[in-house]
Amino acid sequence: MNKYGTILIVDDNPSILTALRYCLDTTFERIITLDKPDDILKTMAQDTIDMVLLDMNFTLGVNSGQEGLLWLRTIRKHHPQMPVVLLTAYADVSLAVRGLKSGASDFIVKPWDNDELVRKLKDVLDMQGEIVSLDEMEVEHIRRTIDHCHGNLSKAAELLGITRQTLYNKMKRL
């Protein structure tokens, strides 16, 4: 069975850590758990980590998720390529969306279904390993720039640093 490397799980609830260790031990080669987010960077410096599963709430009674977002940004700043999956409380979709915007790869809602959790984590890691061809990158980038300019091609061409005609030619290949 193909194992998926090392996962770092950060949650202040020891039962959740036990549950996740239990659920993921056949999928991952190594599982490191932390009950305090303060040690995240230290652990990441010491070990080779393939992915992080991060809870959003650490302070008791505070359910805003701000802390989780803060740690997510910190991880992304020091390890921009590290896939981070968020563990969010139920019914906190807006928080999850903010997490995705801040660079999280995916999010998992508590209580989760084990099979779905494993599938999501595997998907994130599989995607990570995929090498995208330059052409595909270019097409994707052009598409995003045009979306960003709400379809205004002159502006998109200006942002991309090419002439309008070149952009037209490239678009014909899309």
Partner: protein, 287 residues
Amino acid sequence: MWVYIIIGVLLVAGIAWFVHHQRSLKMRAHLMQEAIHNRDFTFRLPVNGLLSGERAMQETLNHLGDTIRQQVNQNEVESWERLTRVLTHEIMNATAPITSISQSMLNRQDVKDTPLEDGIQAIYDTSRHLSEFVASYRKMSELERPVLADIQLRPLVDDVCRAYPELSWQVSVPSDITVRADAGMLRQVLMNLVKNAIEAEAHKIVVRVVDEESPSLMLYVGNDGLPIPAENRQSLFVPFFTTKRSGSGIGLSLSRRMMIQQGGMLDLTEKQYEGCCAGFMLTLQVP
């Protein structure tokens, strides 16, 4: 001489009336004190037989009682809301490891086909059921903000009538009445009351505007179903309280919340109209 006698008699009669009047005022004060003592703020004492100043005072007190009651109810709903938010969060966090661990164990070879399996399956099913229940409660209680507009009450009530043709309807709502409410929410509250009535074996629904000295519009919705037992009246609007086997106990608490969000109120009434056995009073804002 006669003049003195007449003045004397009038004086005595005056004093007697004065003493009597003071006594009846004391009686009123006593009644209101008793009501407050029993945490019932709905004393609507009559204002006849009072001097104009006292009448104004009594009207103010009656109105104050109404306001206090509404405030108490609103505070209750709001603290329930806060409590629910915290509770659902904690319950979800607590069930997460239970569900996950039991699910993992069910997949283990040394658990399958052993006596352990049934027990763990029960743990798994129960925790799943609990989180589904909480999830559905959260979904229903997360209301959108109401969009208040001036709406015609009569067509809205007629709409609800048409949805339940199997019931006999007695609607006395003048067609020119406009209220300030969220049409969707108000319809949902009415439908919910009707559904409850049907479950209480009602065949007749009475909807009528009640004349009361109030700046709001009072809409009575009653039915001829089973009366609400006295011991349940206090807990009727408490979330999760239910007397039905399949009920979740959120219908009425949710309806009251929707009414409060629209600046109104939903209450159980003591007084019934047109042969009803149970009834609710909706307080609605008027433009």
